[in-house]
């Protein structure tokens, strides 16, 4: 399979200029070419390497998106879909210029089917907005990657987050999609039926495709009943090995934890300082959340506490009040900023890996040892019930050597996870930073990914340069 053949040439500067002109005519104020706006759309939240699009457009419906893509298709100009730019792997950088399609004005919840536990939203709706609109229905959308990302972005990167251990990732929670394909056609995949054997699974193909096969414009999502009872607890361990041991036993016993988060000693120290958490020590820590009936939650929590005690864990500190819980999870979600505060002036980026739960202890201990050996300022946090963890690496942006070292460590974490039967990304996606790791992970199957990319986007205009290496 030749990789280079079939790569179409891109539209010339003139053609790009004509596209920008046409968009300005058709969209007026909603097509922006100012430097400030283009700079805002030049990168996500990962490593700071901006690449500016030529224009940013704010469509309002499927037909407008299809019109933009048709225009770009005819002129062979790149199309980059943009949610709120919280991606961590460089997904939104306009590596080859082109049109940034900002979906933030497609932000309507189109339908809520309370009886069927599903809803349909436009791609620019954020998860917090959706949950706000669900208030009063007794339902919620659980997937929580931390950032208040758009649901389109979450679908495109196959996001998961802290409670995937109970509710799955976007893969399990997207029922259907409306997608504008590379030639500007509108297709509908999946639907409201809970299961279907009709045709290939296009829904899951577009989920996680990072905008490289089409622009997701609408999403049918699964919803869940708000649990009758929720409680959260904190437990601290003498060392990382003991904490991970408790996680593995809990998963093996099938305790239906809603969240189980690990913070290593350095991260806990950072959180205590940054979020002013009282009564905790700078030790490896597990945060638990239990969902269910009153009886179920009590039962789960007791079982978990016994397992923790067997692994030299401290007594549970409870957070049964909603405010206490939200303070706790806020501290967890602010882990990134807390880590940054460990060394003012430095920047941070987060790498993402996921291993089979049976290898989690090996992978985390080896990774921590490497970080210490290399003298890196780095913390480990993880949605460990899934075997998914992140390393937050700090580096001095003025020092090329420091950044290179941090990137080398990130690469090494990816390869270690892959070597243990895992993956270089549990939830952040491939973007531009993990193209090499993708090949290490999938070998021959990457040829098939290239073939699919060519089949669905022969001109290579959909978010070019991402997800699948050329």
């Amino acid at each position: 399979m030749s990789v280079e053949t079939g790569q179409a040439s891109r539209g010339s500067a003139n053609e790009v200029a004509r596209v920008v002109e046409t968009l300005a005519r058709d969209f007026g104020e909603r097509a922006k070419t100012g430097d400030a706006v283009r700079t805002q759309h030049a990168r996500g939240e990962g490593l700071p390497d901006p690449a500016l699009p030529d224009v940013v457009v704010y469509p309002h419906d499927n037909d407008e998106v299809a019109g933009i893509v048709r225009l770009c298709h005819a002129a062979r100009v790149p199309v980059i879909a943009f949610g709120v730019g919280t991606s961590l792997e460089g997904h939104v950088a306009a590596l080859h210029g082109g049109v940034c399609v900002d979906l933030s004005e497609m932000n309507r919840v189109l339908e809520i089917n309370a009886d069927d536990l599903d809803c349909r939203v436009q791609a620019g709706v954020t998860r917090e907005q959706l949950n706000a609109e669900l208030k009063g229905t007794g339902l919620f959308f659980p997937i929580d990657p931390g950032a208040n990302a758009t649901l389109g972005g979450m679908a495109s990167t196959r996001a998961s987050g802290t409670n995937a251990v109970r509710y799955g990732t976007m893969r399990e929670n997207v029922l259907g999609l409306t997608v504008v394909t590379a030639d500007g056609r509108i297709v509908h995949t999946g639907g409201r039926a809970r299961k279907s054997s009709a045709g290939y699974d296009l829904t899951r193909l577009f989920v996680g495709a990072e905008g490289t096969l089409g622009v997701i414009t609408e999403i049918q999502l699964r919803l869940y009943g708000v649990p009758e009872a929720i409680s959260a607890a904190v437990c601290q361990f003498p060392d990382l090995k003991a904490a991970v041991g408790a996680v593995i036993v809990a998963m093996q016993m099938g305790i239906p934890l809603a969240r189980i988060e690990l913070l290593d000693a350095l991260q806990m120290e950072a959180c205590i300082r940054y979020s002013k958490l009282d009564g905790y020590e700078a030790k490896p820590t597990l945060l638990f959340e239990f969902h269910g009936s009153e009886a179920g939650v009590k039962e789960q929590a007791e079982a978990m506490e016994r397992i923790a005690a067997d692994h030299a864990g401290s007594a549970f500190q409870w957070a049964t009040q909603a405010e206490d819980r939200s303070r706790l999870w806020k501290a967890r979600h602010n882990a990134y900023y807390a880590a940054l505060a460990l060394s003012p002036g430095r920047q941070a980026f987060s790498t993402d890996a996921c291993v089979p739960i049976s290898r989690l202890a090996d992978c985390l201990l080896e990774t921590r040892a490497e970080l210490d050996r290399e003298g890196a300022i780095a913390t480990i946090v993880g949605h460990v019930g899934d075997g998914n963890f992140h390393v937050l690496l700090l580096f001095d942006p003025a020092s090329k050597a420091e950044r290179a070292k941090a990137e080398a460590i990130a690469q090494s974490v990816s390869l270690r996870a892959i070597g243990m039967g895992g993956t270089c990304t549990g939830e952040h996606g491939v973007g531009i930073h993990k193209l090499g790791a993708l090949v290490a992970e999938h070998g021959e199957a990457v040829d098939l990914m290239r073939a699919i990319k060519r089949a669905l986007d022969p001109l290579d205009i959909m978010n070019p340069g991402k997800t699948v290496p050329r």
């Binding site: 399990e172 279907s196 009709a198 045709g199 593995i248 075997g387 998914n388």
Partner: protein, 484 residues
């Protein structure tokens, strides 16, 4: 007839006993569970190693010979129907469980392993494999992956796509590929999901890593009676809307319960217009709490009686009727035609009412036995093929049901797959834009269209009427096998 050169190449790859070409030897492979379609293949190959599969596919690719992979042959949509110019590649000899990892809760199995054999093998570890199509005693895991099989418990525990971590397979070019991985997620395009439910059109599966679950401590089932089918349908919605996701939620109407009762004596209330089976599982406390809630919702929804299984024996008795429903209906009618549409649950009362009305209009009885919690309908239209005009009326009736499924936002096949049976309804469910994408994906994997040709995705210019599942007297293969 197989080309002599191809035959010679296959004979060099396989021992004589593993290459069948005589009519009497290939005859057993002429159809699967959809017996109305039959075709004799040019040859049947029974490889035992992945290297043999690779060599066979390379040979067929070079000679442009179609290849139809076959598991246990229990498909209900003609997924394993042979191509008269091609070979059937049977995975029947790939029946080893290669590894079980109790800590990671996974098992690596060959595609010919029976679905139930996995659960039996890991039972001593307190684990099981969740998807449970009713034919689980016979159907193979490779076939389950190819069809994205579901089952009674998939409402809570998901379909095959939710319970498989990794698939290893061989492309038509002979290239060995792996999709997914041992971790819960995998980078890049979701080739794993693409391969699951692809009906043997993209790759021949040689190895599957399945996810295992800890067996729930206890399970209990409620048998609720209703005096109208629509009320029972509405009760299904009420249970889900109350935030309860039962382990199983099945419905049977009166024609079905009466047929079953005569056959297996499952102790069903025969005066009820419909019954629901609602199962809950988990720890003792959870089950007690959830069953109390279920009772409340069922009562409020108008159940005329509710009986909760008092022990494991009674639980199995209540389920025995559901599991035997299809063979039971087969006993009371010379022929039946089984549908497989899936709809949003909320539309259940409307669709059930329409089916009842059409049953009168077409003068054909219809028994409903189905996965109500998923909204997956299996109306069984009863008819007699020997009565003139009944087949035509049955097909017209069935078509209207599928059309209504699409109209209310559903799909023409919930779990049986498209195969050759549903090619025509696929044209109604999908437009040209979607079908073009399906074909593009097929081409990316198999440019010459040699793997299972003519199945699953209709060609654009040939969205033609192609036929139906039609079970006539003894023609249903394995007639006693529980189905659906």
């Amino acid at each position: 007839m197989l080309d002599t050169a191809v035959h010679a190449e296959l004979a060099a790859i396989l021992p004589a006993a593993s290459l069948l070409t005589a009519v009497e030897d290939v005859k057993p492979y002429e159809c699967d569970g959809l017996t109305v379609y039959r075709a004799l293949p040019a040859a049947v190959v029974l490889p035992e190693t992945e290297a043999q599969v690779v060599a066979i596919l390379k040979t067929c690719h070079a000679a442009k010979v179609p290849v139809v992979a076959r598991g246990a042959g229990t498909s209900l949509s003609g997924g394993a129907l042979p191509d008269p110019n091609g070979i059937v590649l049977s995975l029947a000899r790939f029946k080893r469980i290669l590894a079980v990892d109790a800590l990671a809760r996974t098992a690596v199995v060959q595609p010919g392993v029976r679905n139930l054999a996995i659960s039996e093998a890991v039972a001593p570890l307190g684990l099981y494999y969740a998807p449970d199509p009713s034919s689980q005693i016979a159907c193979s895991i490779g076939g389950n992956v190819a069809e994205n099989a579901g089952g009674v418990h998939c409402l809570k525990y998901g379909l095959t796509v939710h319970n498989v971590l990794r698939v290893r397979g061989v492309l038509i070019t002979g290239e060995v590929v792996e999709f997914g991985g041992d971790a819960p997620d995998s980078a890049g395009y979701d080739l794993l999901a693409l391969s699951i439910g692809s009906e043997g059109l993209l790759a021949v599966i040689t190895e599957v890593t399945v996810r295992l679950l800890p067996k729930p401590q206890v399970a209990q089932v409620a048998l609720a009676a209703f005096d109208a089918v629509e009320t029972a349908g509405a009760a299904v919605g009420a249970i889900i809307a109350a935030g309860i996701i039962p382990a199983g939620l099945e419905m049977m109407d009166q024609p079905a319960t009466r047929a079953v009762e005569e056959f297996v004596h499952a102790d069903y209330p025969l005066d009820a217009a419909a019954v629901l089976l609602v199962e809950t599982d988990g720890t003792t406390d959870e089950v007690a709490a959830e069953m109390a809630e279920i009772r409340q919702v069922l009562t409020a929804a108008g159940a005329t009686s509710i009986r909760v299984s008092r022990d494991e024996a009674q639980r199995l008795l209540f389920w025995s009727g559901r599991k035997a429903a299809f063979p039971a209906v087969g006993r009371i009618s010379p022929d039946y035609y089984c549908m497989d549409g899936t709809i949003p649950r909320k539309a259940l009362p409307r669709v059930l009412q329409a089916i009842a009305q059409w049953s009168v209009e077409y003068g054909l009885a219809c028994a409903n036995v189905f996965h109500a919690g998923d909204g997956n309908l299996h109306p069984l239209i009863l008819f007699d093929a020997n009565k003139p005009g009944e087949i035509e009326r049955t097909i017209a009736f069935g078509d209207r049901i599928l059309e209504l499924c699409i109209e209310v936002g559903g799909t023409v096949t919930g779990e049986h797959g498209v195969g050759v049976e549903k090619l025509s309804p696929m044209c109604r469910q999908f437009g040209a834009a979607e079908l073009t994408r399906f074909h593009a994906i097929k081409e990316a994997f198999d440019e010459l269209r040699l793997l299972n040709p003519g199945k699953a995705v209709p060609t654009l210019h040939r969205c033609a009427e192609l036929g139906r599942m039609h079970v006539h007297h003894g023609e249903l293969r394995f007639p006693d096998l529980p189905r659906f």
